[in-house]
Symmetry: C2
Subunit: 333 residues, 2 copies
C-alpha cells in the first residue's frame, strides 16, 4: 500500500508532519511505501542526516494552500498544491491513502471533487472519534454535509458502524441519533424522518435518539448527526474541556501551588486519555479511497496515529465492508 | 405584581419548591403577592408552623402533569393541572409571572397556546443563561422552536439582547450566531440567510458567526441558534461538565485520597460558580407575560432565584423594551 502525507499542511508543518510520517513507517509492511507530498526542499530539511529512509518517496508539489485560504478558490488557483496533487493521485489509484492536517475545507473539497464515492454512497461524511467517558465514540458527520437528507444520515450510520468495527474493533456498535429527547417523536423534521428510516433498517444496531447529555455517557458507540450539529458538538467539546481544565488548574493553584504541582501529572494523564490525537484523525467516509483529516494543531504523534489508522483502514478493506452494508434507498427519499 | 410558582413541578416538589418560593418573598414589595399553585393539602404540609405568611396566597389546582407525561395530551386530559391553571390566569392578566420546574414541554405548550405574543413577535424562544468562562452567556433558542425561519432567529437576537441588558445588566451585549466557522458564508442555509439579516439590522450588536469552541470563551454575551442546536449545546454542556469533574475527582482520589479531600471544596466552588441554578431559570421570551422555566432538578435556591429574575423581568418592563426593539420584517421573509 502507498500512504501519502501532506507535508505542508498544519500549524506545525513541515517539521512535525515529516517526523510523524516517518515514525509511522513502523506500521508499514516491507513492500509498502510512505509518500511525502509537498515542497521537496522543505521536506528534505527535516529528513534524518542519512537522507531518505527506505520505503519513503517524495512527490514535489510546489504550491501550498494556507490554513485560511478559501477552499474552492484556493484549489482552482493553486493547481499544484500538495492537497490538489494528493487528491488527484488518489483518484487515479496511484495512492491508497491520503493524510493532511492542512486546510480541512480544501482537503474535503479536493477529495469530494476528484474521487468517486463507494458503492451507492450519496454523500461522504466526516467521522471523528471522540474520547467519551466510557471509550471511543464515533460521531458522523462533523462538517462535510451541513444540509443532509435523511438517507444521507442513514448511510452515515452504516459507514460509521463499519468504521468502528473494522478500525476501532468495537463489535456490533450501538448507534444513536443526536436529538433533543430520547423519544422517537422528538427532534426537527430531519431527525424525525431519519429516526423512522433507522428503525426500519436492520443493517445497524439503532438504539434510538440520544440527547446531548447522554452523548458522552456511553449510551452508544456511534452518534449520527447532520454536519452542522456535529461540527458544533465537536468544537464545543474541545472548547469546554480545555476551558474547564484550565479553570480547575487555576483554582487549585490559588489554593495551594504545591498541590497544583502535584496535580499536574494527573491533568496530563486525563488530557492524554482524552486527547483525540490518540485516535489519529478523522476519516472522510464514503469516498473511494482512504482520506484522513487531521487537526490543524497535529503534532508528530497525531500524524503517526493517522498513518496507523490509514493502514488499518486499508488492511481491513473498510470500503468493501461499507459497500456491502449499504441498504437500498427508495427513490422517493 | 403577582408572581405564581407551580408547587407541583420538579423532581423535588413540593417541598423544595415551596421553600424556595417563600425564600423569594424577600424580593417582593409590600403590595406584591406570591401565589402558590397546586394541591392545597400538599402545599400546606410545607408551610411554616405559623401558617400562610403575609403576601402569600394558594390557588388550588387538583391535577398534576407528571414529568414524563406527553405535553399536549396531558394539557388536554388534565384541564385543572397547576400548569394549565397558571397559564390561563397569566393569559387573563390575573398573574404577572409564572414559574415552573415541572414538565418543560407542557409548560411551554401551555404558555404558547394560551398567551399572546409581544408586539410583532412571530415565535417565542427559550433563553438560557449559561455560566461561560468569562461571565454569563444568554443562549436563545434552546428548544421552543426546532425548525425556525431566519426572521425568528433575528427576533431571538433582539429579545435575548434586551433580556441580557435589563435582567443581567450587560450593556450593549455582543450577539454571535452559532455556526461552523467565523466567516459570514459558513453555515447551513438557515444560518447563512440569518447572518445576512443580522448584518443589516442595527437594533443588535452583531459580531458575526461564532464557532462551538468560542461560545464559552467570551466572544459574545448573547448566542443565537435554532432550538435544536441550542438544546444540543445546552445538554452537551451539562453532560460534559459533570463528566469531566467526576473523572478528575476519581483520578485525584486514586493518586491521593487526602488530596482529593482537600480539593473537594475547590470543586464545590467551581461547581457553584458555574451552576446555572444561580441564574434562576430560563425565560420563555416573546410571550405577553413572564414565564420562567426551571430545571427539573431545581432546589430551593433555584426557585428563589427564579422569583428574583421574575421580579426583575417585570420591574424593568422587559416586554415593553422587547416590543420597542423589534424591527419590521419584510413580507417575503
Amino acid at each position: 500500500m502507498r500512504i501519502a502525507v501532506d507535508a505542508m499542511g498544519g500549524d506545525h508543518a513541515p517539521e512535525e508532519i515529516v517526523r510523524g510520517a516517518l515514525d509511522g513507517l513502523a506500521f508499514l509492511g516491507e513492500n509498502d511505501e510512505l509518500v511525502l507530498v509537498g515542497r521537496e526542499d522543505d521536506i528534505r530539511r527535516f529528513l534524518p542526516e542519512s537522507g531518505l529512509p527506505p520505503r519513503v518517496r517524495i512527490i514535489h508539489a510546489p504550491e501550498v494552500i494556507e490554513m485560511d485560504d478559501s477552499p474552492v478558490e484556493a484549489l482552482k488557483a493553486k493547481r499544484n498544491s500538495s492537497l490538489g496533487v494528493m487528491a488527484k493521485l488518489a483518484s487515479e489509484k496511484q495512492l491508497d491513502a491520503v493524510i493532511s492536517a492542512g486546510n480541512t475545507g480544501a482537503f474535503v473539497a479536493a477529495c469530494q471533487l476528484k474521487m468517486r464515492t463507494v458503492g451507492s454512497v450519496q454523500r461522504p461524511g466526516i467521522a471523528v472519534v471522540l474520547p467519551s467517558f466510557s471509550g471511543p465514540l464515533t460521531v458522523c458527520d462533523v462538517g462535510a454535509n451541513v444540509a443532509p437528507k435523511p438517507t444521507h444520515l442513514l448511510q452515515y450510520a452504516q459507514m460509521a458502524s463499519a468504521y468502528a468495527e473494522c478500525v476501532l474493533k468495537i463489535k456490533n456498535p450501538r448507534v444513536g441519533l443526536i436529538s433533543i429527547g430520547g423519544e422517537d417523536i422528538k427532534g426537527n423534521p430531519l431527525v424525525k424522518r431519519t429516526n423512522e428510516l433507522m428503525r426500519k433498517d436492520t443493517s445497524i444496531r439503532f438504539i434510538g435518539n440520544v440527547e446531548g447529555r447522554e452523548v458522552f455517557s456511553g449510551a452508544c458507540e456511534v452518534a449520527v448527526s447532520d454536519g452542522f450539529v456535529g461540527n458544533v458538538v465537536l468544537k464545543l467539546t474541545e472548547g469546554l474541556a480545555t476551558g474547564l481544565l484550565r479553570i480547575i488548574s487555576r483554582e487549585v493553584h490559588q489554593l495551594s501551588p504545591e498541590m497544583a504541582q502535584r496535580l499536574e501529572p494527573v491533568f496530563q494523564e486525563i488530557w492524554r486519555k482524552h486527547d483525540y490525537s490518540e485516535y489519529g484523525g478523522a476519516p472522510l467516509l464514503g469516498v473511494d479511497g482512504t482520506c484522513i483529516i487531521c487537526h490543524g494543531s497535529s503534532d508528530h504523534r497525531a500524524i503517526k496515529n493517522a498513518v496507523r489508522i490509514s493502514v488499518e483502514f486499508i488492511r481491513t478493506e473498510l470500503n468493501k465492508v461499507i459497500a456491502s452494508r449499504l441498504t437500498e434507498i427508495p427513490d422517493d427519499e
